[in-house]
């Protein structure tokens, strides 16, 4: 214990070679796995590397990507939301129902998104003011929202054949060769990834999730943070629901059954911790891409759909196990 200032070493330690740092990042590992799978599939199936398949695959994960953004931010703040699947379906159903009742589709969509935001705020209230656990509150909302979907539709899908083309354009149109859905997805991903990394607002989300009490003792209004992340997650569900409605041209009350598990799995594969305090948007998106790629590969290879859940569950377990050991070694 001499009095040397060891901070001088800090500069050299930060200059870890770029490649080494890249290697250590979780995102890199995921990209490698995705590329490997991509390569294998290109040989395994002649249909894989076709424009139509690529497009179908990216459409499949693009909208889920919005949900995974909300979920990741919520997980970082220390929460969880089991209601994403049903709230997404509810947005679709409410907007569709309003439209069939004669409301302008844009207004109907705005109202549905507002309703979802309200649901998020409602859950946030129960978590932060009443003091219940996210898991229980969102479990209740999951069931309630699904019930509301069935109530509004009588359990049958609402056909929205009269949706104006400019509305359907959100879900079905393209800019050049690129689907609008993908554009929306990319905008959200880039915006939220940047904000999460750089803004003071989202840094407070990390502080809160890492140690809520320490955050409170640092003058951060942790309840407000958790309230907002809970609300944001539901708002994104609303937006996703509207995009799905525009894409399918219908509102399905049973849409997104079990979706919450896929979304949570993707976020966790991408590095989010259920204990809060860690996670990244890029990682979570890669998680969603991986799961979606696996699903479509299995379909192309004619693997029974019944196998798909088993395989996806195993991937989740494997990813989390590997990460656990990597973290242990680093710690």
């Amino acid at each position: 214990m001499d009095n040397t200032v060891n901070l001088a070493q800090a500069d050299s330690a930060d200059n870890t070679p770029f490649l080494k740092r890249l290697f250590r990042m979780r995102e890199t590992g995921l990209i490698v796995i995705i590329l490997a799978l991509f390569l294998i599939m290109s040989f395994a199936s002649p249909y894989f590397l076709t424009w139509a398949n690529m497009r179908a695959m990216s459409m499949a994960f693009a909208v889920d990507g919005l949900l995974v953004i909300g979920m990741t931010i919520l997980l970082i703040s220390g929460g969880i939301d089991l209601s994403v699947g049903s709230v997404t379906a509810l947005a679709m159903v409410i907007a569709g129902w309003l439209f069939l009742s004669g409301v302008n589709p844009w207004v109907a969509s705005a109202m549905a998104i507002a309703l979802c935001t309200g649901i998020g705020a409602f859950m946030g209230f129960f978590v932060t003011r009443v003091g219940l656990h996210h898991f229980i509150v969102s479990l209740a909302i999951m069931v309630i929202a699904r019930g509301a979907c069935l109530l509004f539709t009588g359990g049958r899908p609402l056909g929205l054949y009269t949706l104006p083309p400019e509305f359907k354009f959100i879900g079905q149109g393209t800019i050049g060769p690129i689907p609008i859905v993908i554009v929306i997805f990319l905008v959200f991903v880039i915006a939220f990834d940047f904000m999460l990394r750089r803004t003071t607002m989202f840094r407070k989300v990390f502080y809160t999730g890492s140690n809520e009490k320490a955050a409170a003792y640092s003058g951060i209004r942790t309840k407000k943070v958790i309230f907002l992340t809970t609300t944001l997650c539901s708002t994104l569900c609303g937006i996703a629901g509207i995009i799905y409605m525009a894409r399918f041209g219908s509102a399905q009350p049973t849409f997104g059954l079990g979706l919450e598990l896929t979304i949570i799995a993707a976020a966790v594969i991408g590095g989010a911790s259920l204990n809060g305090g860690s996670g990244s948007i890029l990682g979570a998106i890669l998680g969603v891409i991986l799961l979606s790629l696996v699903s479509s590969s299995l379909a192309l290879l004619d693997v029974s759909v019944y196998w798909q859940d088993i395989i996806r569950g195993s991937i989740l377990l494997a990813a989390v196990t590997i990460d656990h050991y990597l973290n242990k070694r680093r710690g």
């Binding site: 214990m1 070493q9 803004t199 003058g219």
Partner: protein, 509 residues
Amino acid sequence: MNIVMQDVILKIENLSKSFGPVKALRGVNFELKKGEIHAIAGENGAGKSTLMNVIDGILQPDSGDIVLDGKAVKISSPTMAQQLGIGFVHQEIALCPDVSVAENIFMATTNVSRSWLMDYKKLEREAVDVFRQLSDIDPSVLVKNLSISNQQLVEIAKALTLDCRILILDEPTAALTETEAQTLFGIMRNLADQGISIIYISHRMVEIFDNCDRVSVFRDGQHIVTNDVADIQPSDVVNAMVGRVIDNLYPEKAAEGAISEETVLKVKGLSEVTRFHDVSFELKKGEILGIAGLIGAGRSEIVKGICQLEGDVTGDVWLNGEKLALRNYQDSIAKGMVYLSEDRKGDGVFLDMSIASNVSALKVEQVAGPLGLIQTGAEEAQAEALGRKLNLKCGSLSDPVSSLSGGNQQKVAIAKMLSVNPRLIFLDEPTRGVDVGAKSEIHKILRDLANDGVGIVVISSELPELIGVCDRVLVVREGRISGQVTGEEMTEENIMHLASVTDAQASVA
């Protein structure tokens, strides 16, 4: 002292243990006699915990022998250590809060029991027996309703039910007040007289010299010296621990005239519904004010109340002459009044986040640009400047705080306070779990800050620390200020008297 039997019960020979490149223990030798209280002293990272974990079977040594009763043994797990009669009371209390004291004690016994069915009657009888010699805790109360010191006793009882012959106590008094600690020492001596050998890990010289028979000092994974406490001085132990001569454990007090007439903080008639009543005091510029009191007396509650961290507080507070109307802790930070928490790991730092982002946490906006975008460069520069000031030892500023030693973690927590250029800092147990070297550095930092005109209020359960560091000490008892001491009056006896004697008792005396 009164060691009747001098047989060596446990002998460690040439023991080494490495974690990767770090040599935690290098060829350590150690002897424990039957019926003695053997203190182990050393700074954090000296190898004390590693050695204890090896003895308890949690870790396996790379080389060297453990000899128990003259036979070399291999202790492969804590369960095996229990069977060999080794009990370990860890520093952190690990009890189930929602079940009774008796059931908590059953936990360990049940685990090693060979019978298939639980014999509740026998266990309950044993629990009562164990407690008869320890204290008057009712074995049927829930652990969460016990004070920390009584919980510590339950931990000890748990170890004792296993018929242990060697009892390891890892800083058991860290969470205890003086009186509670004294009770514990009485129990320890009692156990030693019954032939149980106690290994007692502590940072506190007073405890070691008042209560132990021998002391062994460790430094950098090596055994430095073992001596009868009667033969050496506390300063010898401290010097052996640090490996250099520490002339003064505590920094100089405020120089003549350094305490100005200017008032930094004035508190008048501060009350909280249940926790404290009618608290009034002042803090002058250049002065370090201490707050003493038993645990639960309301020390922390008062300062948390002043900066609006918790509680429903009434009364008036002036900071540098300005009357404050704080609505919450954010307002307090904005006015430059900050609180360093007593529970570093629980609520002081973000263990899994980087050092730099810990330091900036109090006001992240300071290291952000106009759009609320965090400038990583500015954030690291802030952490580096404060780290240099506090002599922080770390690898990289992007390492998580969990990678640092206790003393350096505390420096990060203090750097966080300093990041907002505070006008007043409340420090609650600023050196708890910090080794001697870092401790005296922190004390010096406090004095430097006071000399720079920053208001410093220190709460501590360690009376020598308060007496050594502060210019004046307020004593709190049952939510009220029961008195203050300054200059020559600052003695442990005076403070303890104010902290524990009720007015009725005082008037009788």
